[in-house]
Amino acid sequence: MYVPPMSVPLTLLGLLEREPSHGYDLKRDYDAFFGRGKPLPYGQVYATLGRLARDGKVVAGEAEPGDGPERKRYVITEAGVTEFEHWLTEPITPEPNLQTVLFTKVVLALMLGRDAEIYLNTQRAAHLKRMRELNDLRRDGELVDALLADHGLFHLEADLRWIDLTTARLDALAEAVRS
């Protein structure tokens, strides 16, 4: 399943910005909105909250009586709000990682006199297969799933455009690489 890059501490801060919450509320909401089939372990929730408290981003209330492991309510601090808002408004770094890997493989294939088009076609098939899975998710899932699937689909589509363009330029690239 497609999972976008996600920052657990900042996401928990965001959930706390909404309202003070217990660890298990945070876990429940994280899993519902951002987990996408990969639930956040309780251990990670409390470890993250512990670090946020140590760094002054949240404060933990007194332990409350009740069942279960820990019943402390966490509240975001001014420093936490500032950090969260900074993160929220900052554009994320566009990550051309895939292109870099593809680029490296194509250039190496050409340098070594191998058939780069075969490699690009294999990658194209893998991309299209993944797009098909995302189409299914988009159709059968809820709106949140559909939005995530769209995000994945558009990125894969962009990669495919790059693959098309590179395929069209392979002869010229081969000359450039070997000269």
Binding site: L98, T122, R124, K129, M131
Partner: protein, 236 residues
């Protein structure tokens, strides 16, 4: 599995310009295959050769165990009418006919009586979300509606193969996806093989398998192995 339809080393030139240079492609029964490629690569020409619309200069086209590229025009015309369905980029509905009559057209052309043909056509409107559109003419339909009517027309006679040439090319992306969803689902439901030409990866991703046409030659993409490497990284 033996191929339902197959091009073997098909070449075709328009005047001095070669469009296909020994293109080979094989499609199994019930499969949805997307032919991709840049403009001018020959992908539509290949589709038209498979569908018996164009005759190759050399090479062979086989359908259901029979060679079809050497049929005379009457034979190919019968094949197109009785065994094949078509959807083009612009619905190409007959403007004088109602939507219902447009859908029924392939049945009327192959001799089905009018009442029976219209009765066959009618359920397609509910199936494709076109309830209430039966009596409209093409000018009274949106692009997406017209293309769904064209899709119903392409499938109504239960063709063995549906040929679709850039079926979503004139639609916005959301409408295009609805048309693709409906096309693939309806074709599967009645066991129709689909061969579609598209330059859009997102449209091609609805197919079971893809082939690339480049410089007049076709390369069938092997079904992707469970993606490792780069693809897996974005997927996980």
């Amino acid at each position: 599995m033996t191929a339902l339809i197959e091009a073997r080393g098909v070449s075709l030139a328009f005047g001095e310009t070669p469009a296909l240079r020994g293109a080979s492609l094989s499609v199994d029964a019930g499969e949805v295959l997307a032919i991709m490629g840049p403009s001018g690569s020959g992908k539509s020409t290949l589709l038209h050769c498979l569908a018996g619309i164009l005759t190759p200069d050399s090479g062979e086209v086989h359908f259901d165990g029979q060679r079809i590229d050497d049929l005379n025009e009457a034979g190919r015309s019968a094949l197109r009418r009785d065994r094949f369905g078509f959807v083009f980029q612009f619905g190409q509905l007959v403007p004088e006919l109602t939507a219902e009559e447009n859908v029924a057209l392939p049945l009327l052309l192959s001799g089905t009586k009018r009442a029976a043909a219209l009765a066959e056509a009618r359920p397609w409107f509910a199936r494709l979300g076109l309830d209430g559109m039966e009596q409209r003419r093409s000018g009274e339909l949106s692009g997406g509606q017209a293309q769904r009517v064209a899709l119903a027309r392409g499938l109504v006679a239960r063709p063995r193969v549906l040929f679709a040439d850039e079926p979503t090319g004139a639609l916005d992306s959301l409408t295009g996806e609805q048309v693709m969803e409906l096309m693939v689902a309806s074709a599967r439901e009645q066991g129709t093989t689909v061969i579609l030409v598209t330059h859009e990866p997102r449209v091609a991703s609805y197919a079971d398998r893809q082939a690339m046409v480049r410089d007049g030659r076709a390369t069938e993409l092997a079904p992707a192995p469970s993606a490792g490497g780069a693809a897996e990284r974005i997927a996980s």
